[in-house]
């Protein structure tokens, strides 16, 4: 009898260890998603849906890699990725805020554009190893902890920055004047306008900020995670980001949970493959999970009345108030 018990305990511990050991990998895989989702949360909070995230992430990936490779400095690469992501987002802002075109179509067009330009731009970098890849940073004392230190305190700096960004962006959104302004523009732009808020400016700023984060998220893939340039390497991450934003109910803190969950699924894909499960069926997991997440959060959103920003996807103009 005690032997059986011992067996059970051993199995349990093995499973626990497997999961625990997978957590750092899940965090790394989830980090690009986290940057993207945080960006999309801010854009959508201002009332603008940005379906161009995939395009902004892939452009961030290629330009980040290119600049990091040429300058031999990962930091410049990340900065360039943020700028390029922001620039592409500016196009979306101009189309959807100033010209008031359909936000779905504009985002889709920018994704196509980003995929096209990145493939052309990245052609010369295909197959190159990145000399200036982002190195893991040991956090003093904490990283020396047995097991835990190795698991949780030896990430690269971009992982830590994304984790710090979560409470910061949460605080700004809910506890500051800036956050109130942003949310008011997304909920009731005409009331915000009446109170003297420059609706157009706030929306532009939010969309561009979101695009910058998307660019950084994309470059995390090519500078730290892979690190290499592979055509189409975002593989739909930008779309998952849009779904995660709904899953997170437009809340930065929930974005963390969603991003790591999806990072975990990615990791699971690779760990289950040796067990003889078809890689193709495993590759479906993130997308099926996204659909499930959208389905579940739609019910939840309806129940708790914690829905989307009321003015999401509607252009604002004074004349038509």
């Amino acid at each position: 009898m005690p032997e059986l018990l011992l067996d059970l305990v051993q199995t349990f511990l093995t499973i626990l260890a497997t999961i625990l050991l997978a957590i750092p990998a899940a965090i790394r895989a989830g980090t690009p998603l986290l940057y993207g989702t945080l960006g999309e949360v801010y854009a959508e909070r201002s009332g603008v849906l940005n379906l161009g995230m995939e395009g902004m992430m892939i452009m961030g990936a290629v330009s980040g890699f290119a600049v990091a490779q040429i300058t031999n400095n990962a930091g410049w690469g990340l900065l360039a990725a943020a700028l390029v992501g922001g620039l592409l987002a500016l196009v979306h802002a101009f189309a959807s805020i100033t010209l008031r075109v359909n936000q779905v179509v504009s985002g889709l067009a920018l994704t196509m554009l980003g995929l096209g330009i990145s493939s052309l731009m990245g052609k010369q970098f295909v197959g190159q190893p990145l000399a200036a890849r982002l190195q893991p940073v040991d956090i003093p004392i904490l990283s020396d902890l047995p097991i835990l230190g190795e698991l949780f305190f030896q990430f690269d700096v971009m992982v830590y920055i994304s984790i710090v960004l979560v409470p910061v962006l949460w605080f700004v959104l809910y506890k500051t004047r800036l956050g109130v302004t942003l949310r008011s523009v997304g909920e009731n732009p005409s009331a915000a306008d009446a109170l003297g808020v420059n609706v157009t400016f706030v929306r532009y700023a939010a969309v561009v900020f979101g695009g910058m984060l998307a660019g950084i998220g994309g470059s995390y893939l090519s500078i730290a995670y892979a690190p290499a340039w592979i055509e189409g390497m975002t593989a739909g991450a930008g779309w998952i980001v849009v779904a995660l934003t709904i899953f997170a109910m437009w809340d930065p803190s929930r974005a963390l949970l969603g991003a790591y969950l999806f990072g975990g699924v990615r990791v699971l894909q690779f760990r289950l493959q040796p067990l003889g499960i078809s890689p193709n069926l495993l590759n479906m997991l993130p997308y099926v999970l996204t659909i499930l997440v959208l389905w579940l959060s739609s019910g939840q959103a309806a129940k708790r009345r914690l829905g989307a920003p009321a003015a999401l996807m509607t252009a604002y103009s004074r004349e038509e108030r």
């Binding site: 010209l99 493939s119 193709n280």
Partner: protein, 357 residues
Amino acid sequence: MKMARIRIEKRLSSPRWLPVASLAGGLLLALLTVAVIFAALGVNPLVAFQRIFRGGFGSLYGLQETVTKSIPLMLIGVGLTLAFRGRMYNIGAEGQFMMGAIFATGIVRLFPQWPFFLLLTTMFLAGFVGGALWAGIPALLKTRFRVDETLTSLMMVYVAYEAVKFLVYGPWRGSDTRGFPITDEFPLAAQIPILTGTRIHYPTLLIALLAAVVVYVLLTRTKLGYEIRVSGENPEAARYAGMDFRKVALVVMLISGGLAGLAGMGEVAGIHFRLRPPEAISPGYGFTAIIVAWLARLNPLAAILTAFLLGGLLVGGDAIQIALNLPAATVQIFNGVILLFVIASELFNQYRFRLEK
């Protein structure tokens, strides 16, 4: 902060030449923008444009290929005009295309002995059903649970891609394929006839043309079409008039999905005569067809023409890929820029733009 603002006013009336002029202007600006992007990336735009045009429209062979590629674009594009008119953003036609291809191949595997006409007809039907079912899932999620169809239909593209790969790498891989991930060749009875000397599988082309006419009539001459248009243009008014949003949503999704499925069937049974991996049977027809629909200003008859144009762009894109050694995704630059300028130019029909200090 003082800055120049663009002031936008609604037009009360618009001259008749305006829609044509704004579309032409939009396309011209789009080409200019693409030229600037090409130049910035070190590709000579004049050479590239010339090669594309010559490749797609400059020779009999080019024109034949353009027609061939316009068949799936037309089928899907026509369906999407209907979906977008009803304000259902079905952007997952690429997945519905794949399901149509899978279903048609499934019929061949089930009934390889059937006679020509019966087998092909069943395959066409199965292709439609496969695409419609795949579009039906986002449609149901939308009508039952109010889940946004944009993302769900797109996610299902990736699932469909993996499903095709699973089949051709796994259970459906052929016995005489020397290890390639493809199915065995279809029997002759399951091959759509082609115009001799070309790759044009004309029965599918006829179906596509017919679909354009049918969808046009449906939209403009029937009560259902009226309901679709009103629900799309003014959902509030449609609700007050007692129109059933769920019915409209379901119908437009099923038809657009079904037509995309037909396109997938046409490619496997008219071009490849077998199921092959996703990237081999579609260069992104489902996404390019979104531009076909918008460029046609969501008019199904106009989609015939725009499908031909974008078919030519695809053929020309292949040409520069080989001639200038550019990646296949280069054509996406055209797609994105054209789509952006087409929707932007549409606004000039409805609004007047003024620069004010």
